[in-house]
């Protein structure tokens, strides 16, 4: 059944969009990631203009992360002080990223930079996640106790000043690395057009040693806030938010996210991390294959965005 998208200016099958929303919403709820790194390329693949896709995906991510955040919030899994410090850093980082984005566009190599950044980041994060979780799974098979939290060990940044106690996360750490992580997430998010949850969750788990469920819940809360802001800014600045596309994605997304959140809580943490690692590696392989394979058509045409 086709439905006409008034801002994207094209008809599309409504069930395709609903299904896409549900599938990405499920993944989003399960892993506490926004799902933008999956949704944006998928929308472009089915023919939505990139500018519309990049600015409409945040509406879907806001909706699915709201229903997820609500259930985590009621279970008191969101570390509020950690989330607000990260959010502050990420807002500054976003501003820097937007500036760097226009610099690269002037140099004309934006596409290449984005593809390589995607591959490096996704392979790194995905590889680390799957490798570490396989070790944890093997360890639990053998019956040896998990040695993830060693009270005696300290990374170098534990010596930094401005130490704060984050209650829900059960960590006592300087605010400086938290702000730096926020800055990096905001910067990369702006350049890659993604929420950055797939980077935030592993950084919280591995760098700050935040428990997986708190990391997922706090990351989802941050995703909600940044995506709401992105929706309003994109609509006001670029007029590229397609309400019909967004609403259709949302309906699928919120339903998927509910099932995803439950699935995420039912699965053991190391299995969850292993699956997320595999998923991220899969997307990296897909991006890499586009760069390596000989394209069937060497030329591509994109309309110059009309600033109507």
């Amino acid at each position: 059944m086709p439905i006409y998208l008034p801002i994207a200016d094209l008809p599309i099958n409504i069930f395709l969009i609903l299904g896409l929303g549900a599938a990405v919403g499920f993944i989003s709820g399960m892993f506490g990631v926004g799902g933008g790194f999956l949704m944006t390329p998928l929308l472009i693949l089915i023919g939505i203009p990139p500018a519309i896709a990049v600015s409409t995906v945040p509406t879907h991510m806001a909706a699915s992360s709201f229903s997820g955040t609500l259930s985590y919030w009621q279970k008191k899994l969101v570390d509020q002080s950690l989330a607000f410090i990260l959010l502050g850093g990420s807002l500054v980082g976003t501003w820097g990223g937007v500036w760097f984005f226009s610099l690269l566009r002037r140099l004309g190599q934006l596409d290449l930079f984005i593809a390589i950044a995607y591959i490096v980041l996704l392979t790194g994060v995905g590889g680390m996640l799957s490798f570490e979780s396989i070790r944890a799974i093997v360890r639990s098979w053998r019956g040896t106790p998990a040695a993830l939290r060693r009270p005696g060990t300290h990374a170098w940044f534990h010596g930094l000043p401005l130490k704060l106690r984050f209650r829900q996360s059960r960590i006592y750490v300087s605010a400086i690395p938290v702000v730096v992580i926020g800055l990096a997430i905001g910067f990369l998010g702006a350049i890659l057009g993604v929420g950055g949850g797939f980077l935030l969750v592993p950084s919280l788990i591995y760098l700050l040693r935040v428990p997986t469920t708190v990391a997922v819940a706090s990351s989802m809360f941050i995703t909600l806030m940044t995506m709401l802001l992105a929706t309003v800014l994109q609509a006001a600045q670029n007029h590229t938010v397609d309400a019909v596309l967004g609403l259709t994605l949302m309906v699928g997304g919120v339903v998927g996210a509910q099932f995803g959140t439950r699935a995420g809580q039912a699965i053991r943490a190391e299995h969850l991390r292993f699956l997320l690692g595999l998923l991220i590696l899969g997307v990296a392989a897909r991006v890499a294959s586009d760069l390596i394979h000989v394209p069937t058509e060497l030329f591509s045409i994109i309309p110059v965005e009309r600033l109507r």
Binding site: I7, F66, L228, T231, A235, Q237, F299, P303, V304
Partner: protein, 260 residues
Amino acid sequence: MKRAFAKTLAAMALAGLALLAAAPANAQKLVTSVSTHRVLVNSSFTGAELVVFGTIEDAANAQIGKYDVVVTVRGPARSYITRQKGRVLGLWVNTASREFTRVPSYLAVLSNRPTRELGEPDFLRRNRIGLTNHVFAQQIGRDVADVTPNDPFRSAFLRVREAEGAYISDPSGVTFITPRLFRATVQILGTALTGDYEVETLLISNGTVLAKQQTAFEVVKTGFEAFVAVEARRHALYYGFTVAILAIVAGFIASLLFKR
């Protein structure tokens, strides 16, 4: 249903033209009409089909094959960037790009036989007959100019646009019903831009243009689609807040529905 409606309109246009055809011989040589002047884009729009009808006057002794007809439809102008991929260090990346400024977003050339048979290359270029004889201005430095037809970017642009269905070249798109009466079917894609579409009809015989007729139709959004498109522009900030609030409401409703 829409198609049936278009056919009814087409039949009416045909009846009108038949009357015109019976008018005195000193009338215009070419009379054309398009089945609808407004294509409405609503929530179930997936494209449209229009019919252009025409009669050739002053053709008491006309036979099929004596006259040739070319119908050209040009959609609203838009600029496009064409990028070429090349291999750098084993990776396929964009290496060169050109901007085509204000070229038709839709272009259909319908004729009763291949356009290259209709006259000398120079004649075809002068009268913009056939896809490749249109002007595709490129931004070259600070200048805007068209380039030679065998330019790789120009031919790639036409090839990709044709593959997308936005540019159409149909050498059997015009059919003669009688020696004096012809019709051409114009297919509009679901991705068509809104705006004015020009329809130009040329009557050709022995390498000369005997007559030329211009008509037009417009593609407009209606109802909810028009409302959303206008609001997104006119009250951009409120529109953004509305969508953001809708996102929260959608998330809230879902968590209520799924509460155990």
